[in-house]
């Protein structure tokens, strides 16, 4: 019996591509699985992986399929495993502000499900409105502007139910906000791109919805004024939910009201009304003399602006997108380093910094040769500033020269050791993270 037949018997729903049957739409994988499986229970996932590990069949787990551009390309696999049928909220105790959700559920749907209790799951990942799922969120750890206040998924995750590559079901972490029993395996899953386990359920800490929200858009004539203001904001007695710095091109792309400004700062405050008003006043006083524009927006008017910031830099049609993780002050200055570099003069580059997180995001479009030079420059820049870099959405023609991951440093050998321990037969494609030719 072929493995496709064996696997198909383990689930109530599957699709064999090329069989003539019109199955559910699947994302453009870049490889050709022989079968796409749609398990409905954790036990079905366990059965699939148990069989796969015994038979050496490689399995590619996915949910929304919205972030396939992350990491290295995957070699051929035997089967793709969709989590889309695991899409329910399993537990929500409002007074504990904790919820457990299946990983195939869309983040947006999960957020809707809990908002009736006046609570929020404070993440705004890219592709939120186009199918980003809870599983993808945890696996990628891609978070948006709200990470300034709430941190990333790493800060919110409390527990996971997952299936190991050998089929064992594990329930690790817990459902309480404080817990130091055993190693923090849930955090190990965050950002692991599905290379260690298949995530079935995740438990998160939630936050209360705030009463009042306002956005500020600050324009600057030059980068010196902007840096000055950014440092003053970082030092001020304020707690912004979001804090982003845009370069001129991106500001124009977003259609901000500060068009023409060399730099734009976006800020959002969420709290009691009087507290928001007071913090806006503080920003105004702190940045006095530096700004060329100071615009206050209601939550409703600023919605599109924040959606644009959330989606950046994962834009279609670019040569690549990159994320630099830097020390806080370096992320404030990185925009100027990038803007003034001759290596980027031949490409269209858009940049955004999220200073409180030490994150700088860049998208680059241009001829291949120039794009490669730009990538080299960015990698060297991250290195020289004491940070690291990740490239994603790399145009096919550039993949030989632009690797998804920069240097992992001392962590690489231990990361490989962990992968080897969790999945000695590489059933869950490790090449997403580990370059085959880097040892």
């Amino acid at each position: 019996m072929s493995y496709v037949t064996e696997l198909s018997k383990m689930v109530s729903s599957f699709h064999v591509p090329g069989s003539g049957d019109a199955g559910p739409s699947v994302p453009e994988f870049g490889f050709s699985p022989q079968i796409v499986l749609y398990p409905e229970t954790v036990e079905e996932i366990s059965q699939i992986l148990s069989f796969a590990s015994r038979s050496g069949i490689r399995i590619f787990p996915f949910a929304g399929g919205t972030k396939l551009f992350l990491g290295n390309p995957v070699d051929e696999v035997g089967a793709a495993l969709s989590l889309r049928r695991l899409c329910r909220v399993l537990f929500h105790e409002p007074s504990d502000m904790v919820s457990t959700v299946q990983c195939g559920m869309e983040v947006r749907e999960f957020q809707k499900a809990i908002e009736c209790e006046n609570q929020i799951f404070p993440v705004d990942p890219p592709l939120l409105n186009t199918g980003a799922t809870v599983g993808g969120l945890v696996s990628s750890n891609l978070c948006g502007p709200m990470s300034t206040r709430y941190g990333t998924c790493r800060e919110l995750i409390l527990g996971v139910k997952a299936v190991r590559a050998d089929g064992e079901i594990i329930n690790v972490g817990g459902k309480v906000v404080k817990n130091v029993a055993g190693y923090d395996i849930p955090k190990l899953m965050v950002g692991s791109l599905g290379t260690l386990c298949v995530l079935a359920e995740a438990t998160f800490r939630l936050y209360p919805r705030q009463h009042f929200s306002r956005t500020l858009v600050l324009g600057f004539d030059n980068h010196v004024s902007c840096s000055q203001a950014a440092r003053a904001i970082l030092a001020a007695d304020i707690v912004p939910t979001c804090f982003e710095i845009l370069d001129e091109n991106l500001s124009s792309e977003f259609g901000t009201t500060t068009q023409g400004a060399k730099r734009t700062i976006l800020l959002r405050f969420d709290s009691f009304e009087e507290a928001v008003v007071e913090q806006i006043k503080e920003v105004r006083e702190t940045t006095l003399g530096e700004t060329s524009a100071f615009v206050e927006m209601t939550d409703e008017i600023s919605r599109d602006l924040w959606a644009a910031a959330r989606e950046f830099p994962f834009l279609p049609g670019v040569s690549f997108s990159s994320k630099l993780t830097l020390p806080v002050t370096a992320s404030v200055e990185a925009l100027s380093d990038i803007e003034s570099s001759p290596a980027l003069s031949g490409v269209d580059a858009l940049c955004l910094s999220r200073p409180a997180r030490g994150v700088t995001l860049v998208s680059v479009s241009g001829e291949d040769e120039q794009a490669v030079s730009a990538a080299c420059f960015l990698e060297n820049l991250a290195d020289s500033l004491g940070g690291r870099i990740m490239f994603s959405g790399i145009r096919r023609e550039l993949r030989e020269k632009v690797r998804a991951w920069g240097d992992f440093g001392d962590a690489l050998s231990l990361m490989k050791n962990i992968k080897q321990r969790f999945d000695p037969r590489d059933i869950l494609p490790g090449e997403k993270i580990f370059d085959a030719d880097r040892g």
Binding site: G174, V176, V177, K187, E278, T325, R388
Partner: protein, 496 residues
Amino acid sequence: MMGSQAAKRTGRWKSRIASELVGILGAEAVISAEDELIAYESDGLTGYRVKPVFVVLPSSAEEVSRVVKLCNREKIPFVPRGAGTGLSGGALPNREGIVISLSRMNRILDVDIPNRVVVVEPGVVNISVTDAVSAEGFYYAPDPSSQIVCTIGGNVAENSGGVHCLKYGVTTNHVLGVEMVLPDGAVATFGGMTPENFGYDLLSLVVGSEGLLGIVTKVFLRIIKKPQVVRTLFASFERIEDAGASVSAIISSGVIPAGMEIMDNLSINAVESTVGAGYPRDAGAILLVELDGPGAEVNAQVPAVIGILRENGAVEIKLAADESERQLFWKGRKSAFAAMGKISPGYYVQDGVIPRSSLARVLGEIGDLGKQYGLRVANVFHAGDGNLHPLVLYDPEVEGESEKAEELSGEILRVCVDAGGSITGEHGVGFDKKRFLSLMFNEQEIDTMNLVRCAFDEEGLCNPGKVFPTPRTCVEPGMRKHGSEAPSPKEMGELF
């Protein structure tokens, strides 16, 4: 096997190892005299005592690395130790091992205010970090009650919390990077000056690993701005359930206080008999709520919280008028553990976590258990995050009572786990609670943790005998040892 290995540990062996250690560290940094070893026999959990063969006091990562390499060559188990304030026996020595004390690695290496990072050696005392940046308007948030003596290395090992972690998180939320000596002696750095990183989150594994994954030799700490305003409220209640209900209602209203602490009647009276904090002796419970942040925000939160306290039956509500009154409110809470010594000759501090929603039920069950065992249980807890610290009172002079207290403490953990909670919120599993780990996790789950341990420490020499309820090998990932099967040489580390 064990016997044959032990037989090798002769006087000659000991003097050879001593001489090598002295060669690495100098004579003044190697302790082997019986009377000097006594100070290292236990950590803060003094019920367990083991005398190690040596204690060493390295001054650099390189020295730690050389000692660990020696341990690997000789298959000697080693136990890292900070200030020894831990409450789970995590730094309990191994009788055939070496204790590596980090107390001499106590320098603050860098204070980088613009990047909000302080780089320290592991032996730096927790409060010293805040002291180093306080003048600049910053502080280090995790504040375990032992913060004036406990060290950052120990905080990293235990993922320590404190009274303010509801809003600001625990140690793992404030460590940006570590340099560590891995169990094979190699020196590696994970994370650093950047708030975010890529790849597997090794840093999150190391923080809270209880010294089983290596020895941290440098820590990059995130510091945060001191809040503009801090206001502290005190409320008394007839019933502890109402205090608990207030906690949930405050958070649900959109307010996340910096800290919320509850003490029950027995604790109140113990405190009043010792420090006289001014708590009402007849109250069923008191609740302390600390609000901090931008002035306007805190000023908006105070009346909202007072309203909630009233709605939930608070008998008396006081807002600290100034810093000295605020300190008075906290004085009682901070003295609570010590105050137990005044009302009972012995007490056992437990550390369990429950969902906030089950507070009333769990406290009832703890009360019932106390009656069943004929022992008093005082309750002091970080109410915001459901972290209970029941104090089981007993008389060590009464035969069998300490055993009864220990048994009752274990039963309390079962109640916590049954309620959906955890066996530890901040003290760690260590030696003391390893037998309870299987209340929370099944064999596959514990085996999965062992996969991590084996990835770091295949020889099992780094702080063996802690956390895992039964010895586990790395020969076949996840395999447990059974019965009296002879262990392979790779398992030796577990047995010393």
